[in-house]
Subunit: 425 residues, 2 copies
């Protein structure tokens, strides 16, 4: 069946009363009241009431809920509570029959466990809460890209199959690649840094991979990352960019009223995102926690901080030794780095900073961290060609979406999540 003449339900309106229309969608509900039947038809854009009378009722024999139908009929004004107009059916074609019992209730009236929903994700997408999460994700992606484009960032695609286990090398999936060993990239870090040399400001939104045997609501082995890198920007500049992009995305999401209603969560729009230094956070945690400068903040510490700061906030100026080799220390205090994390409560959403651009300092930092500069030879070469100072960040999109739509488990915001126990469907 083609799109020829078919209109979306959202495009019907009162002035169309009397017009013939062709609708297509799935049967969300049906009721027979003697000589008249009512079909509630849903498509991706909305819900329509279809009135079926007389001989046409026979064409609904055996019609099950969730079956796919095409309906032609005439638009009419209605007194039904939830509709502006209804369609008086003239023909109903059953295009695809849903066989019951279904594995989950797509209307969400009977609650299903997450595993059941993920195993029947296609049907789960008829649950308007689920569909709305992914429509909001679409809108957020659109907002992020528009924001980056207008700030002169060029979209890039870095390789996901890489030849050396760089960046520490732990937790990488490996594969055989035409007789060689290759790895799946954990981030675009080294490539995006190199690209600042000629393109200046770059971004990538893509899937990356982490072979970590984690079983939490915030770790997946395949995740979507939003990455930027910009020449001639300091870490405070890219923090500004992140703050603005987050705000713009939250505004965009909050304007999607139908989806916000379906998820039952109004996206919080942060005004100014507070910036707290690591040292201030250590002070806030107090001596009870036994944390002092140089200690990493454990999950328990972040949960305490999250209680004090339930919304978005930056944790800045981390000890250099806690950050990756490419993070640039401060000029006046090499123990402190030009770095930040974006937090939402206890949850880390993004991590970034200024990068080292001097190849000799980079080499010594690699050695300090017990990494072999020879493994980074391809990368270090580029720093001899005139590498601009640059800064950037990576943000976990799945976590950001979980915060934005108000769910605890990132799996709610990923179509087909991958974790140690879940490889299909």
């Amino acid at each position: 069946m083609g799109a020829g003449g078919r209109i979306h339900i959202a495009d019907m309106a009162k002035p169309m009363a009397g017009q013939k229309v062709l609708l297509a969608g799935w049967v969300e509900d049906l009721r027979e009241l003697g000589k008249v039947s009512f079909v509630t038809l849903r498509d991706a854009t909305g819900l329509a009431q279809i009135v079926v009378k007389g001989g046409l009722q026979a064409s609904m024999d055996g019609l099950t809920r969730q079956s796919v139908v095409a309906v032609s009929g005439t638009v009419a004004e209605t007194r039904a509570r939830d509709f502006e107009v209804e369609v008086s059916a003239e023909q109903i074609d059953v295009l695809s029959r849903a066989i019951h019992p279904l594995p989950i209730d797509p209307l969400g009236r009977l609650e299903s466990g997450m595993d059941n929903r993920l195993n029947a994700r296609a049907l789960d997408m008829r649950n308007q809460k689920t569909a709305s999460i992914f429509r909001l994700r679409h809108r957020v992606l659109e907002s992020l890209r528009q924001g980056l484009s207008k700030r002169r960032f060029t979209e890039i695609t870095t390789p996901k199959i890489i030849g050396s286990a760089s960046e520490g090398g732990a937790n990488l999936f490996s594969l055989e690649y035409f007789g060689k060993t290759a790895y799946l990239a954990q981030s675009p870090q080294l490539y995006k840094e190199q690209m600042t040399m000629g393109l200046e400001r770059v971004y990538e939104i893509s899937g990356f991979y982490r072979a970590e045997n984690s079983h939490t609501g915030r770790h997946l082995s395949e995740f979507t990352s939003v990455d930027i890198e910009a020449a001639f920007m300091d870490y405070t500049d890219v923090m500004d960019v992140l703050e603005q992009l987050v705000r713009e995305a939250c505004v965009a999401a909050s304007e999607c009223t139908i989806e916000q209603e379906a998820t039952g969560h109004k996206a919080e729009v942060p005004s100014d995102i507070p910036r707290i230094t690591y040292s201030q956070a250590v002070d806030e945690l107090g001596s009870d926690c036994g944390v002092s400068f140089g200690d990493d903040l454990l999950d328990s510490h972040l949960r305490l901080l999250g209680e004090k700061h339930p919304g978005y906030y930056f944790l800045t100026d981390w000890p250099t030794k806690l950050k990756p080799f490419y993070i640039r220390p401060k000029d006046d205090d090499a123990e402190v780095s030009r770095s930040f994390d974006l937090q939402h409560g206890y949850l880390e959403l993004s991590s970034g900073g200024s990068r080292l651009h001097d190849p000799s300092i980079l080499r010594s930092r690699l050695e300090q961290q017990g990494l072999d500069p020879a493994l980074f030879a391809d990368h270090l070469r580029a720093f001899d060609w005139g590498m601009p100072p640059h800064s950037g960040w990576g943000m976990g999109l799945d976590r950001f979406m979980a915060v934005l739509v108000g769910v605890d488990n990132v799996r709610e915001a990923v179509l087909y999540p991958r974790d140690p126990d879940r490889l299909s469907p």
Copy 2:
């Protein structure tokens, strides 16, 4: 160095004469003419002439081409041929020194082989031809996404790590996944089809993987694919969408005048893309080629067709047996399928069609093609829940970009291409 106060070269203009500015970029050229030196400074947005006089010339001692500098100075009108304004330098800071000899000439005056350029891709990105290809790619991606959004397609992200070697299973990379065998996805085909059940119209632009030992200018083992799938559309409808998107992207690219000039190729904007059936193509090839209905079109045949049709054209209505199991035959002739390829000359850019949505027909097609329906159990289940009729296509973005910018090898349009011989950098 932060962005504070720094402006992009493209934002300088005559009315700014007399104003102080801070620029940053790399030294494309420098000439000393006695008491005055000229630096040609490039950033991602353009080229500026910097005039350096008197004592300041000393700060340029040892300055090499391609080194990164920050320049503060005063804007002045100029009589120099290629510039509207110039900057009279007051301070020059060398931020990063380029060590010569460089592996390639980033100005492209000395031609470098592709391998050398790919090995020094960061520096190659200072070649304005190369940078322009990737800026055009950015613009094309933006145009495609805008076009899809406005046609109510929702962006999705399907898993790239998959649990079964579906879709034939040949040419898949495999990896160990927490003690199980997993594969890298070759396409989002099955997932995107399932998503039409609730989201109706979906698209994905992402990397996919093919473990094929090919050594050509048009095959890579990691490639970017643009995929759409739409419920209630027939193959002619999604062909219309593809035709419009291609046209819109070509228009968007053709409006990037600076980049078009740098690539030396004006993007061809197709008006109506001709539609030729497979049977017509077989007739055109004539009996000399020895091709008759049901034979696949070989590279040599496509090259002959490409000579007759040097631009964009659709090849439609392929024999059912030449197409994947999920392609839907015509109602009146099961030997012919509702399918198409988008060609540019001999090069296949996209392949698509109407899909089967009846699970029993799908099962028998799988068996006909020697595939085990048990391997597709997760997928086939979804077809019992009320799967709408749907159609879609996948387009190789790298090939489309190669056509659009007028290069023969897709590697020119991929940052870090992957093939059997190339796994790094």
